[in-house]
Symmetry: C2
Subunit: 428 residues, 2 copies
């Protein structure tokens, strides 16, 4: 008996997971390879970084999700090379043969060539990033409580968020809420509401992909939470004591101990590996330029989906790196594989944009559904609902809902733990 | 106006926290000093280590607990020395003057002089310990799934728990449940139920402080979960590939990659610091021998409570290092301080032992209330109830209850995350 067609999926994020699930009834063997043992619901990662949710609330073990899908096996491991001529994925400790390969390895943050900033300004892509951000935010208030020098105190109570996209807006809003509400009665020597929160964005408004009216409402919402929005500003330097920004001709040095990075992303190194193996083009941030059917030039058996794919057919600009794109691409490729096995063809991929949303804070969000824009309480409720239904595992939905309700009624955040090997190194 | 009497409490565990809360109406200023920003509910730490609960479910920010208590301030910092003649606590970065000092710095694990075992056999005292244990347990099954060599596979699927006290019994039982039930459908190449779990105890039965009938029931419960109990056995060596034990004349080398340490504890270094400063005696594990009123010899203004105190008045043997002892001692010292300030005296401390309990697994526990012993489902329900009501913060009670209910009905554990800077180092 012939062995069934083997589909290898690199990455268990939205793209990879939806591809695997959509292959449930296909006559194929599926291997999902990931460096982590869980699927991470990245849109809520900022809530871990700001103490509302626990890591496990937004991360579901891949094995648990796929345990009943008999044609899937999950492997924990790291792909380091792809040998397209022999159809093999090279792992750090072995290899995997494939008939069809789906690369959904995602992106990581990018410091525009200033890698030394990473240590000073952590980004937000992994669970560890989120707990590190949480540690820094909470430690800054702790250090301020013990600080005698007014200049140092000011620096500890200044938070700079770099990047005014959805993640930056959500982070800045959450830090504003922490300072104004969550910590209100917690300290004796400082008033946490004195914290200065600066959101730095290079474009002329926050949430650049959204309509200008929504950007303005988001900015107004941030202002109400005590966030100063600095648009048209480039970060020119970050050191242990300050962030330096340039707005046109003006330069400003903002003394701070806490810088949160929500700016650039860069494709996983597998993008470059795949491009050199196949001759495919990569864009400025290393994403692989894909064909209209998401395959890689001259390799119809290799697909790239999700944040790692640069898809600009029909659309002109590349599709954004958001979960709905990855999910639709995962489903598309799964369907394409099934049709091919039946000798059928399929029309090119088309992204159906149902809109996008971002929260600013409690009961405050903006939503752009294309045909309608709205903001405020109902946008926030819509945001909550959409995120809850897309969370994997019913238990997590329930736990998240309870914690949101609690947060809403008490302003409190219970996952405010400073963890890590050395919890105190920032206190000097 | 005279400054109010200043009580400094080192440690925000059960002893320190209950002392601080009991001083709510006292005419004193209270400073709670801790290296961590949260109170940890240690009795449930093993459930974090085995993926049932998230760290934040059993840890509550000290500031959040004490925010409404106006006479308390919380300081994040580390005490490194105590200057009893000048009534000062020396911190790693400053100092604190006190009128009364309560030292409740607890214990850490102890490897009987074999500190090199710590790296190979992590203990369970902190949140980081728990996530490290969780990482090792889960990675062992992942490595087994990818292992081709039968001997190596056997070693990956062997788990050795050292120490048959409550923590060891609870850990071994939970690993048994994970292997037999939680992971049942998760793997394709291995059957997790093939895992061998060995609990090693030096005495002649598990749970030595309990009546022999309960020890026997605990052992039977562990056997039903696939745990092999090896009593009368000493660990003579631990290396990267095996644990060597000695039972009388017999020596056995158990090849394993996962060793969980639940054996010895040793007093915090502050115990020794305090002993040399005051001339107080310390016992074999470094606990400070205290007076009948929990003060330190010749220093009525210095108290030691909780796991760090060696109290054997009336009792003959020192009181065990459990939460109820620490809680009662914290309350006692708080009352003593208030009475002293009013010029009153107080009878010596007396521990009221309401009994003790340990869980073995799902719907299985043993309880010894002194006047009655019982085990099975009702002991388990009593265990659940007692632990839930003592958890700090209502939200955590609700979240823990939901996760227990889920675990009970589905056998699943959702907090099965492999986290840490390098999630894969154990896979070789």
């Amino acid at each position: 008996m012939e062995k069934p067609h083997h589909v290898v999926i690199i990455g268990g994020g939205f793209g990879g997971l939806y591809a695997a699930k959509s292959l449930k009834r296909a006559p194929v063997r599926v291997t999902v390879l990931d460096r982590r043992n869980f699927h991470l619901f990245q849109p809520l990662l900022y809530q871990v970084a700001t103490g509302t949710l626990s890591p496990a609330n937004i991360a579901a073990p891949l094995r648990a999700i796929l345990k009943r899908q008999e044609n899937v096996r999950v492997l924990l491991g790291e792909a380091i090379d792809i040998d397209v001529s022999n159809r093999r994925v090279v792992l750090s400790d072995g290899e995997l043969s494939y008939d069809t390969l789906i690369v959904a390895a995602g992106v990581r943050h990018h410091y525009f060539g200033r890698d030394e900033w990473e240590r000073l300004a952590p980004g937000l892509k992994t669970i560890e990033d989120a707990t590190e951000m949480r540690r820094r935010i909470l430690l800054a208030f702790e250090a301020a409580e013990r600080e005698g020098d007014p200049g140092e105190l000011r620096a500890w109570l200044t938070f700079v968020v770099v990047g005014g996209g959805p993640t930056g807006v959500e982070l800045a809003g959450a830090v504003g809420e922490i300072a104004r509400h969550t910590l209100k009665h917690d300290f004796r020597a400082i008033n946490p509401a004195d914290a200065r929160i600066v959101l730095v964005e290079g474009m002329d408004r926050v949430l650049p992909p959204y309509p200008p009216t929504l950007s303005a409402r988001a900015e107004a919402g941030l202002n109400r939470l005590g966030v100063t929005v600095q648009t048209g500003a480039m970060v020119t330097d970050i050191d242990a004591d300050a962030v330096t920004i340039r707005c046109g001709e003006r330069r400003e040095r903002i003394p701070t101990r806490t810088v949160l990075w929500a700016a650039g992303v860069q494709a996983s190194t597998l993008g470059g590996v795949l491009a050199s193996a196949t001759g495919a083009a990569v864009d400025r941030v290393g994403r692989v330029v894909v064909e209209p059917d998401l395959s890689v030039a001259a390799h119809p058996e290799v697909f790239v989906i999700g944040d790692l794919a640069h898809f600009s057919h029909h659309t002109g600009t590349p599709l954004p790196g958001v979960a709905p794109v990855a999910m639709q691409q995962g489903r598309y490729v799964a369907t394409l594989i099934m049709r091919r096995l039946r000798g059928e063809t399929m029309p090119p991929f088309r992204y159906r944009d149902y809109g996008s949303m971002a929260t600013i804070g409690r009961a405050e969000a903006v939503a752009d559904l294309g045909w309608v824009q709205f903001s405020g309480f109902f946008a926030w409720l819509a945001w909550l609902f959409i995120h809850l239904i897309h969370l994997v595992q019913f238990q997590n939905r329930l736990l998240v809902l309870i914690q949101w309700a609690w947060n809403y009624f008490t302003w409190n955040r219970y996952a405010r733990l400073i963890t890590g090997k050395n919890p105190l190194p920032l206190l000097r």
